[in-house]
Amino acid sequence: MKYYDKLIFEFSKEGNIGYSLPRNRYSETPLLPSSVAREAPLPLPEVSEVDVVRHYTNLSQMNFGVDTGFYPLGSCTMKYNPKINEEIAAMPAWNSIHPLQDEDTVQGVLEVYYNMEKSLAAITGLSKFTFNPCAGAHGELTGLMIMKRYHELRGDSARKKIIVPDSAHGTNPASAAVCGFEVVEVKSLENGRIDVAALETLLDETVAGIMMTNPNTLGLFETEIKEIAALVHKAGGLLYYDGANMNPLMGVVRPGDMGFDIMHLNLHKTFSTPHGGGGPGSGPVGVAKHLEACLPLPHVVKGEDGKFHIEKDNGTSAGKVSGFMGNFGVILRAYTYILMLGKQHLRSVGQLSVLGANYIKESLKDVYKLPIEGVCKHEFVFDGLVNDGAREDVPGATTLDVAKRLLDFGFHAPTIYFPLLFHQAIMIEPTETESKETLDSFIEVMRKIAKEAAEDPNILHEAPHNTPVRRPDETAAARNPILKYQDAI
């Protein structure tokens, strides 16, 4: 990657244009009254079309994507994003449809929603899905709204607490708080699983439910899920499944069968839609039968006439959670993926993602600390280097150093310093779309880095060596915020 140091604003030259618009053929062009017309200058760049194309092409070359190389970012499921998905989503037949068009002019669109709902219900063992949430965190919030609404409809208003394991992603407690719940943490055992005895002491008539991932954020299956579900249900609570870790269960285990009442999926993780540098995602939420009435609206239903309709009001819904019906363009990509996979290849998604993770774990656990032994699912966590090379005058290499050194070898780094249970956490998730050769070269590089650390940790402290920029000063960025071009000039 080559360092390129321009901002689009720096190409600006008065009189340059990059647009092509129709000639104004109307006889009158009304002006806004000055009382409501903009007077302030509009400091947008004035650039040519070629400037724009070159600038963003140059910027793109300072970026690493799944198409560039291996991206073992734990908990993010950076699998290959099939190109056919993009072609289907780019069809003008979808892009030119207004969200408020009449049902009978959008039957093709509504069929996509309906078929996707059926497919996700089959894959998860839940009953119905809403596609209105735009991302995973949005799905969590929506799922909790459904939970709150369910208790409210039953007149069970004392349930104000949500239980969250200490290994959970920060979004879980944040979503619960935004939804007006009080968050209670349940501890993990030495083996990384939820402490069921501790959970039992927390359960009472004030608990609305528990948010879990299974496998959990350590990549470990919660082996006592049956007991957990029974206890939570007995106390009148509901089980929420954070679908961030659904990939290893694809075609193998269904969250609905394990007793989960509500879940979200990340179509941008498990269902191969591109992450786009941080979005757009899609976070559909599924519910078991007893919660169907609480699903957000609008929702697509199939009528007895075989036509698809949009249900807009029913008196029991949790409400409206986004502008229209979610990120349709993303849903289309995921639907394409499901059609390509079909029932024949679904199981391999889960199995091969687990195979890859265990293969890396077993190949590196002699040089990176593996805090919990045993088979993992699609990801696992190391707790730093076995030998960090620390000596009297040189501090040892940290997880951050390992991550930065990986960049020098053309790999994206794993997720680091999460989960919080381990101080030097390195969370690795390879996904099913990586070949043995790719995993082998990653393993080789990780071993080389471990060796470097043991011999001379300074190589790691100084890393990365060949990236466009090297360890930008984040403290300075926060202390003296420069957040727009106008601040910088």
Binding site: L7, H138, T171, D257, G277, S348, R470, L483
Partner: protein
């Protein structure tokens, strides 16, 4: 195991990998899962399709949609998106990257987000912008929570009745679950009523007021005096705006707003049945430390090179957990890139021209529809841009059906029994004439 294009492992590879792990089969990798949860049935899914089959499947499905010329808005506007936009956003270095956690190999994403923040600040006149959010309505909901978090002991947020219904309903949902009381600022004579607003503010419990820059009747609201009234009651002023229109209408900063939110869709994003779009949120610098979502900042690296990083992360959910004011994680990055590339191509002049053309077309349609004798004016002399309402003298359902049967989408009904139309630069005078002819028949 069947071979499949997205799985690059051969049977030999799988065998070798299982050996290294020390298990005999792929099933053994699930030995930790209680047997009763291993799914033993057949998944109720279709058979796998090839690419050619998938293509024809979707071509057939798309045939079930009826293509219409769009003469409606209500929160989604059919503006033209130049070829360059689609071309740039399709670059897989942008498309297939994650959130820029490793800044050294994400300078592309970080730089365009910085440019996006600069563009949003230019349009709104605000000091700081976040890296984008899901959509306009959820950005408005986040603004409501920011108002509550920024004011002491205040429990209520006022929504103008001029806001679009999809915004109001989304904000109300968030309010209900978060425990915020919603009040309403009525509309009189096509514009949020300042005296009614003052009466509500005088109760002393209002944390913020969300106002439409252009309301659901298409009227450009005059917010003279609103800032003083709202700030006088120690509440925050939030403007919900169409960022494309901000090239010509008074910016939130000019009205004295504290926070600007809205949907970036009119800036180059296809209507695409409602998503993906992009919400934006910008604010006066006083609210920087409470702003939800990602923010990108400029800094230097070890060698002094200009660099960009995610910054001020202490505000965010992964640090603050249940104490965060928002649960939002990612932004809507690729959609922010649409906005950035679009706004760069357009520049100040192009964006003004888009508004001129849209407004000229809308006024032409307005006058032509009135001349059919089948409509009455509702708000004469109120300024509008690309969207307007009229009172139909014929049944709305008949009007809508007539338009639809002739390939037009327009005449969206409002709760008052008016119909709204919108015109963008994509519509031609001939298309407008054709629509009017259909109405006349």
């Amino acid at each position: 195991m069947d071979h499949f294009a997205y799985f690059p492992q051969t049977e030999g590879d799988i065998k070798a990998m299982l050996e290294r792990i020390g298990v005999n089969s792929l099933d053994d990798l699930y030995s930790d899962v209680p047997g009763e949860f291993m799914f033993k049935g057949e998944y109720d899914l279709p058979d796998a399709l090839s690419e050619t089959e998938v293509r024809s499947f979707f071509e057939d499905l798309a045939e079930k949609n009826v293509p219409l010329k769009i003469f409606a808005g209500a929160g989604a506007y059919d503006h033209y998106s130049p070829s360059v936009v689609q071309n740039i956003i399709s670059r897989s270095e942008f498309l297939t990257a994650y959130t820029p956690y490793q800044c050294e190999i994400s300078q592309g994403t970080l730089r365009y987000i910085f440019e996006y923040q600069s563009i949003i600040c230019a349009l709104t006149g605000m000091d700081v912008s976040n890296a984008s959010m899901y959509d306009g309505p959820t950005a408005a909901a986040e603004a409501m929570m920011l108002c509550i978090a920024s004011t002491k002991k205040k429990t209520r947020v006022l929504l103008s009745d001029g806001l679009l219904p999809h915004v109001v309903k989304t904000v109300e949902t968030y309010a209900k679950y978060h425990g915020i009381e919603i009040g309403h600022a009525p509309v009189m004579n096509g514009q949020t009523c300042i005296n009614c607003l003052k009466a509500e503010l005088s109760k002393g419990d209002v944390a913020g007021v969300i106002l439409p820059s252009i309301n659901r009747f298409g009227i450009v609201e005059d917010h003279s005096g609103f800032g003083e009234a709202i700030h006088g009651a120690k509440a925050l002023m939030v403007e919900y705006c169409d960022p494309s229109a901000l090239a010509v209408v008074k910016s939130p900063a000019e009205w004295g707003a504290d926070i600007a939110v809205g949907d970036g869709q009119p800036l180059g994003i296809p209507v695409c049945f409602g998503g993906p779009y992009v919400g934006f949120m910008a604010a006066k610098k006083d609210y920087l430390r409470k702003l939800p979502g990602r923010i990108v900042g400029q800094t230097v690296d070890r060698e002094g090179k200009r660099s960009y990083v995610l910054t001020l992360q202490a505000r965010e959910q992964h640090i603050r957990r249940e104490k965060a004011t928002s649960n939002i994680c990612s932004n809507q990055s690729l959609m922010a890139l649409y906005v950035t590339v679009y706004a760069s191509l357009m520049g100040p002049e192009g964006l003004r021209k888009v508004n001129e053309l849209s407004s000229a077309g809308a006024h032409y349609l307005y006058n032509r529809l009135l001349s059919t004798g089948k409509f009455e004016e509702v708000f004469p002399n109120k300024p509008f841009l690309k969207e307007f309402v009229l009172k139909p003298l014929i049944p709305i359902a008949d009007l809508q059906k007539k338009l639809k049967d002739n390939g037009f989408f327009g005449a969206l009904a409002t709760e008052e029994g008016f119909v709204s139309f919108a015109v963008t630069e994509k519509r031609t005078p001939e298309e407008i004439d054709a629509l009017v002819k259909v109405v006349e028949e």
